[in-house]
């Protein structure tokens, strides 16, 4: 036991003497949180919409008024008058416009006569997000223009009342559970992966192996020290990330306890898994080559940045066995939903079981000799 503690002491002393790597481990996910959180999830504003008005009648004027209203209020786009539909289409193609609306000749007459009037919308569908946002806004404009001036006494159409369980969750908050998980994984990659292999290559482990330390003491010491470092990284990023994204739930003692449990289980699972992957590796270049692939394999299928239900079946299968999935789900349940212990229990169980299984296998594979 004392020898295991000596290994932990050594690792933590090294960590506190050289925190630059660990700081980097925390800074990267925080930067990702800020950049991605602000880059995605926002609404389109300031787009340029070309308008070719071949009608010029009163109904076309209503369309212009609707566009002016949008430009003055939600600011999704600003209408720019064009004389030719060909020129407008060309400018959409070249990127000078984001979309173009064509008001055809006789539009006002067709509206008034009820002759299936149509507005044309030219969009650049190489950018799905922009084009679908503008299409959606134009659908709203068309729906508003279709509203009868005098409402019938009995409204026939169905409507949907949406009940949102939680206050508005912006993308930065949505991203936070993934950022915490990623910070811990990066910490494990550096503390439990790179430094472990580098120590091996430098002959530090040779020094350990000539002492009477047992295999279990050495393995548990290395895994425990890595887990402690990951817990510290996870805690710091949970607090900083929550404050940056405006989540005050971390100050609630029960939520904090849930978060600590999740951080502990995630650290243990990640470290044991990493130790298993590194246990027979000698070449310091191997983990460096592996980490990019591991990040992609584990982070993106986890639902951290995109819902799992949007994945194809094979990717969903990967998500099912991905420990990131359970970590992200657990952090999301605690941070964003405050759903109680029962919501994080399956995540804790999965991460704990994964940690135990990989630790047992890694211990079996660990060689007490060179």
């Amino acid at each position: 036991m004392n020898r295991m503690l000596a290994i932990i002491e050594r690792e933590l002393r090294k960590f506190f003497r050289s925190p630059a790597l660990m700081l980097a481990a925390m800074v990267f996910p925080l930067v990702q949180l800020v950049i991605l959180g602000n880059a995605f999830g926002g609404k389109i504003t300031g787009a340029r919409m070309g308008v070719v008005d071949y009608d010029g009648g009163p109904q076309a004027l209503r369309v212009w008024e609707a566009f002016d209203s949008i430009a003055a209020n939600v600011k999704t786009f600003k209408a720019v008058r064009y004389a030719s539909d060909k020129q407008a289409a060309e400018d959409v193609r070249s990127g000078r416009l984001d979309a173009a609306v064509i008001i055809p000749p006789q539009f006002s007459r067709r509206v008034l006569e009820g002759q299936d009037p149509k507005l044309g919308l030219v969009v650049d569908n190489s950018d799905q997000f922009m084009s679908s946002s503008l299409e959606s806004k134009m659908q709203e404009v068309v729906a508003a223009l279709n509203q009868p001036k005098v409402m019938p006494r009995v409204v026939q159409s169905l409507s949907l009342d949406i009940v949102e369980l939680y206050p508005f969750i912006d993308y930065m908050k949505y991203l936070l559970p993934g950022s915490i998980t990623l910070a811990m994984f990066v910490s494990v990659m550096i503390g439990g992966g790179l430094l472990y292999i580098d120590d091996k290559a430098r002959g530090v482990h040779e020094g350990f192996l000539v002492t009477p330390i047992t295999k279990l003491e050495l393995v548990f010491g290395l895994v425990a020290s890595g887990a402690i470092k990951a817990v510290m990284a996870g805690f710091v990023i949970t607090v900083l990330g929550s404050l940056m994204s405006g989540l005050g739930v971390i100050f609630h003692p029960v939520i904090l306890l849930q978060l600590l449990l999740m951080i502990g289980a995630t650290s243990f699972a990640f470290n044991a898994m990493m130790f298993l992957m590194m246990v027979r590796i000698e070449d310091p270049l191997v983990p460096r080559a592996m980490f990019g692939i591991l990040n992609t394999l584990l982070f993106f299928p986890s639902g951290a940045i995109y819902p799992i239900h949007a994945f194809p079946v094979w990717l969903r299968a990967l998500a099912t066995v991905d420990p990131f999935t359970y970590a992200v789900h657990g952090f999301k349940s605690a941070l964003l939903k405050q759903a109680g212990f029962h919501a994080i229990l399956p995540d804790l169980l999965f991460l704990g079981a994964l940690g135990l299984a990989t630790l047992a296998l890694a211990t079996r594979l660990f060689k007490r000799t060179l």
């Binding site: 002959g203 000539v210 002492t211 009477p212």
Partner: protein, 333 residues
Amino acid sequence: MSAPAIQVDHIVKRFGDFTAVKGISFDVADGEIFGLLGPNGAGKSTLIRMMTTLIPITEGRALIAGHDVVAEPDAARRRMGVIPQALTSDINLTVEENLSIYAKLYGVPRAERRRAIEELLEAVDLLKWRNAETGTLSGGMRRRLEIARGLVHSPRIFFLDEPTTGLDPVSRVAVWEMLGALKAQRGLTILLTTHYMDEADRLCDRIAIVDHGELVALDTPANLKRSVPGNNVIEAQFEAPPEDLAARLQALPSVTSVQSEGAGMFRVLTTDGSGTTTALVETAVRSGLALASLSVQNTTLDDVFVHYTGRQLRDEQVKPPAFIPPPRPGGQP
């Protein structure tokens, strides 16, 4: 008579089809300094790694203070200190922290730990650097720290793998003096490997020469030197030597062997240094050969090494070894 500190009995190491160590046996007496010499790839590192429990033994056995390294590895580990060739102390930790961590790994009781560290810091002259980060120390100071680290649990037997490699001459002498003092103070038995013949000559009571995984010589430095034919070595460098010069030098009186070392340099072993030197100079004058340099000296361990291994150690150090044993022998039997 007390039992040997180290007993190596027909020890064999195979890596797949390759036999790195071929049934070597020797004993190291209590309090002895025992040198292991050999060219790169000769098997001495493999041998030391088997004795220090770092790699499994294929056949034979090694006893450390009477403890079989396979049957009782922990008992053997407690009785030996091991200093690898590379400097492996943590550069981020202080000198004292490095020693403290290893004292804990060796299970030195808390009450003894402080005293042991204090004594060792004084012995290796690092007392005033105790709180310095190891990364800030010079190579010589780091080597002294490693020596202290290997002794932190007061072992009886001390293994050092090339303890002065990479050190400047002053630091090397400091390490030699330190090892001598530590041996005297602590009654240590020391087994060391080295590439420096002067180091082996100065430090070792006995020397074993290993080549191709076999023990080719084992004796005291004086006896080893006596075992080489010739008492003196003449090193002569000629400008534009003819092809038959080696044969002509061999024919000089009292010459036992001649070795061409390239660039016109010849190494001549003789039983009569002055007589052969005179004859060599006369031959050169008669043949119109210009001598660029000439030196006469007693037989050294270098000559012993060349005699037994048939090659110059310094050549081996720059050539890649014929076989590099896998550092982590996953494929051993």
